[in-house]
Structures are given as C-alpha cells and as structure tokens.
Symmetry: C2
DNA sequence: TTGACAATTTAAAACGTTATAAGCCTCCCG
DNA sequence: CGGGAGGCTTATAACGTTTTAAATTGTCAA
C-alpha cells in the first residue's frame, strides 16, 4: 500500500519546517504529491482518487497535522470562531458559566473556537455586536437576556449575520433561539402553591425589559385567574435587585397586612433572599409560607429541601445554542432552529 | 495639510475591496503610498516621516481600518489569543465568570482575544494544554486551581510557553502567578473566631491536592497554636463536597460530643451549607456558633449578615492575570510577575 | 492513429500582512 | 562634479491555505 519509490517531485525535500509545525507541504513532500492535491484529499474532494485520499489522511494523522487556522481564515474568510457576548450583568452568581460550558461542549470536535467578547469593548452591547460584524471577528454570535425588540437581534437580522440567542423576541421575522418555557414554569409553580393551600401568591419578576418577564407574568396570571386566588406583583424589586435589598423588602412586606404566603422565585438567589427576609419577620418556610423556585444548579434543593424546585439546565441550553448556531452558519435557510426547553419539575409527591 | 494632488501610483484605484473591508491597500491607494509604507507607518516605525505617519493614522481612523487578524497571525506567527483552561469543576457556583470578566477587562484595548478552551478537548487537562502549545492555538495560557507539582505548570515551564496561573506551586523555577493570601485569610478568620470566644474551631478545607489547601491549613494551625485552642479538621468533606452532603455531615457532627462552635468556610456555598446543617441540629448562628467565610460576591453578607466575611475579588484577580500574562508574553524575562492579593476583611467593629 | 473524453493531478494566483533588501532623492563634503 | 550618507519610500517575497484553471494521464470510439 505504501509507495516508497514514487518519484519525489518537490525540489525541497527538507520535511522539518521553519516553525516546526507540519503543513500541507510536509505531507506533500512525504507523499510525493502536490500541495493542492493534499489539500483536496484532506477535504475529501471526489476528484481525488480514493487511494490517494486515504494515504494522505493516514500521513496527516501520523505526523499530527492540523491545518493552520490563520491561513484557512485568511483564504476562506471564515473565522471558525463563535463569539459570546457577555454583558456586565454577569455578577449574578453562576449565570453564564454553565451556558459557556455547554456551548464549548457543542463546539468540541468541530474546528470552532469560543471567544468571549465582553460588551465593554464598546459602550453599549449593540456596539459590541456591530464591531464584531463589521470586522468579521466571528462567524456567529450568541447572547442571552433578550428583550422583545432587542436591538442586537434587530441589527443581526438586518445584516443577516448568523446568531442565536437565549430567549425569544417579538420580531415578526423568525430567528434562531433557545429558550426555557417560563410560562409553564410560572404556571406550574403557581399551581403548586395553590395546591399546597396558599392563600395569596406573588412572584419576583425579572426586569421588565426582558422578554421572559412577560412569559413568567403570563404563566403566573393564567394560574391565578384559573384558581381565582389573591395575588400581588411587587413593583419595587426584581430578580436583579441585590439580595440584601430584596431581603429587606420581603421582611417589611411580611410585617404589613395581607402579606403573601406563596412565593415564586425564578432564581436561586432570590429564593434565598426571600427565605432570609421571611425569617427576619419570624416566618417559617413550609409552615407559614411556601416557595417554588427555579434552580439552575442543585444548590437550593440541597440547602433548602423544603423549597419546591423546578430545574433549568443551562448546560444543556448552551449545548443546544452551540449546535443550532453551527447549523445556522452552515445553512442560512435551515429550519427548526427554535427550541423551547421544558421545565424539569422536582416536586416531591404529596 | 492634505495633499490632494499627490500622484497616485497604484495601478488599481478602486478603493472598495472585494470583501468590502478596508485593508492596507485601501489606505495605500487613498494616501498614494505603498502598502509597505502604510504598514510601517501604522506601527510607527521611526524611518517613516512623522507627517506620513500622522496622515496614515488619520486615514486609517477615518475609514475604520482594523488589521486583519488572520493575515497578521499568519505572517508573524503570533495568534493574539489568550486561552483559558476551564476544567469541568466549573459547576461550582460563580467561580470563573468573575475571573473571565476580569481577564477580558485586561484584554480590552489590546489586540488580544480571550478563548475558552475546555479541558474536554482531551481526556485530561494536561492534554488540553499540550494540544494548545503544539498547535500554537494561543500566545498564552491561564488556568486556576493549581497543585503543588501541577502537571500543567511542569509542561509549560519545560516548553517555555507563556502562562500564568491563579494559585501557586512548589516548583523551584519561579513562574508568573496571581494568588490570594489564603494563609492570612485562614489566620485572621481563626483569630476572629477565637476573639469572639469560641472554644473549638474547625475549617472546611479545599481538596487536599490543591496548593491553597496547605496555605489555609497553615494559617489556621498558626492561629490555633498561638491561642492554644481546641480544633478539628474534618476528613470526610471538603469545599467540593455537594452542599447537601456537607450539610448532613455538619448536622451529624453537631449532634456528637465535642462539636466545634467556630467554622471557617473558604467559600460561600460551604458557609450556607454549614448554616443549614447547624440549623438542622438546632444551633443558632451567632448564638451557639460563629462562621467566618470567604466570599467572592456580596451574596453571603447580604443574606446572612451575622456571618463574618473576608472578601476575595476575583474580577480584580482576573484583571491582574490578564495584565501580567501580557507582560510575560511581550518580555519573557519580565520580573515581578508574582502577585499575592491581600484578603479584604469586613468584620464589623466589636 | 487520432482526437475526445474522463479521471487524476498539478501550477499559479490569491487572501492581507510583515520582513528583507533595495531604491530614490537631496544634501553635503572633498 | 563625483560620491557617499541620510532620510524616506518602495518592490519583492514570504506565511499556509484554497480556488481557478490548466496539465497530464489513460481509455476508447472513430
């Protein structure tokens, strides 16, 4: 199978290259082929004979050849880079690490790298996106915390740049997204509280500008209206409120008349803050009040087993985001790039 | 100052380029200069006249020129990439997001990008580093959670590849690092507990293989010996123990004889787990026992103000890591690339 | 025997940048 | 007036890949 005496046409038989790394030329010299042939063989072009293709692949594997990203990028214009836009919100505990881990998982075995593009490259996050598009710093973009008429989405749709976001929008043009079914989360959470016999329910909403705030509110109100139960929506606090402020708010509210006894917390920190606040007011969890919380780690359910939890798997979401963005990049007309992930309900029986 | 009638020597006066992006040639055409000249002018080579340099810079700014990373990388061999090795440990809440944010902050305004290299590119984390070095996928490496004879550090020292780690090692060859002064943390934490009149102190240690476990133990033991106070070191649990397991362990221990009444928790989750466990055993924080905890967010002190906290600013650490790695890259002989960050003690007076 | 054709392989050019080595002036000195 | 010497600019060649077009085979019908 090996052809040792094939005529070597390369004028330079020195295999070790200046920078030491094997290149196409290294393989070409070894195989006695032209660089072009090696290139096409490696990309499995049908014009290259099967035997040659296999031989080239074998040599490449043996000498540990890896195509030079810079050269490929320069030639093809493709960067093989996925950028993730971090906004400065990231102080919130453990938020995007899981998502990034998931994305990285999806990118494993592909030639894509994941680069972190913090929004403070520019003054606003939209400018960060603009900058990346204009200068072709990536082939695709991922970001989170969408708004109904998200400026980033608008820009990306206009320019036709591949992207996927975690969260939906209200644009009429469909676009790729992965989202968590927050309607169902809030609906089931409220029903759980009602089933437990709570008399007045409430919910710590995300900041109003975010799309999923509406979804949660909608799910909450649907369950509340179905049951005809009392409720209230705090205006002074949201999920981004510092834990200490939220805690004080809750404890003050508990001391006032008609305090709610059922809480929906779409985040672990808020659940802990509610527990602290209620505790300050002398209320005992599972006795005086109940909480249903969304958790993205196993932290809350382990620390506070009396909290009913509904899980959101952000690592899985990240994996979907990565996978679907790659699809979008390779096929601009791809369908089915919208995914709504179902809540994982962990209520104990009874 | 502008020279409108300078002879245009380029044969191709078409400024708009195929891919639309301005290149050196675009500037060269506009300025009536050679590409080489533009290149050197932009890098402020002294051989180029000041006037030309300024003119070229101005044009570049006006048309929004940004050098092509791929071409630069191909030509110079420099990738302009910093890679951060994530290990799968990242489930732990909020760990590396702050560090990454800090690194990104340090890389802002430079030409460096931050890429996330999860260790599962390969089976072990050392292989991930090997892969990156071998294939020149980055100019420098950042990683965390070092061990005394860390395999990654050994490899990087041997190959001379630029890196910096969060945490120290015990190699005789000095290398760049940023670390938190965990000795002082543990020492001051123990002294605080002792000052509060606690009779028996304990500490939840990090996994033993990590360098900073020794530092914490050393600080702890120093304070304990100075004061001649009772202590114990739990063997069955560590900082990576799931919160629920730790909680059960603490509560069981509290029910047994000679239980400690002073806890050092070098992590927020462990502090919350200890509080839960002690609460299960009917013990009340600040009455029956005290905790001094390390916190990397403001979460714990806001939720549990009775916990004494010592702060570790991971964003700042990340910024130092980024900044110092860039120094190391540009000057292999740079000194002073070792930084020990002091604990920020937040004990209330009294 | 000669094209024609398919099946392979190849040479050459290009992507945008930088490094090397020249080039072209102008000025000054002998 | 010849010849450097500076001061500034430039042409050329690479980096490693892919693309376009062309060349080299062998095969087979006319």
């Amino acid at each position: 199978m090996t052809e040792p005496s094939r005529p070597q046409r390369g004028e330079n038989l020195d295999i070790t290259h200046k920078r030491g790394k094997p290149t196409l030329r290294t393989i070409a010299t070894i195989a006695g082929l032209a660089v072009t042939t090696v290139s096409r063989a490696l990309s499995d072009a049908p014009q290259i004979s099967l035997e040659t293709r296999q031989r080239v692949h074998r040599i490449a594997r043996e000498i540990g050849y890896l195509p030079d990203r810079a050269a490929q990028r320069l030639k093809t214009g493709r960067t093989n880079v996925i950028a993730i836009l971090l906004d400065s919100h990231e102080e919130v505990v453990g938020f995007s690490t899981s998502i990034m881990y998931g994305i990285a998982k999806a990118l494993k075995e592909t030639s894509y790298h994941l680069v972190v593009a913090p929004n403070f490259l520019s003054t606003t996050d939209i400018e960060a996106a603009e900058y990346i598009i204009r200068n072709h710093l990536a082939d695709g973009l991922i970001f989170t915390r969408t708004e109904p008429l998200d400026a980033r989405v608008r820009l990306l749709l206009e320019t036709g740049f591949p992207f996927i976001c975690h969260g939906r929008t209200e644009f009429s043009t469909p676009h790729p997204y992965v989202d968590y079914d927050n309607f169902t989360f809030a609906y089931e959470a409220a029903r759980r509280l009602i089933a437990k016999g709570r008399k007045k329910v409430t919910v710590i909403l995300p900041p109003k500008r975010l799309t999923f705030c509406q979804h949660i509110l909608h799910g909450f109100m649907t369950a509340v209206r179905e049951a005809g139960i009392a409720y209230e929506i705090p205006e002074a606090v949201d999920l981004d409120t510092p834990a200490g402020v939220l805690r004080d708010f809750i404890s003050n509210r508990a001391d006032a008349p008609d305090a709610p006894d059922g809480f929906i917390c779409p985040g672990e920190v808020s659940a802990l803050a509610v527990i602290s606040g209620m505790s300050d007011a002398g209320r005992i969890l599972a006795v005086d009040y109940d909480i249903v919380a969304k958790e993205t780690s196993r932290l809350l359910s382990q620390l506070q087993p009396k909290v009913d939890t509904i899980h959101e798997d952000l690592t899985a979401a990240g994996e979907d985001l990565g996978r679907m963005l790659l699809q979008r990049i390779s096929d601009p007309d791809a369908e089915d790039l919208q995914l709504l992930l179902p809540p994982q309900i962990n209520f104990p029986v009874g």
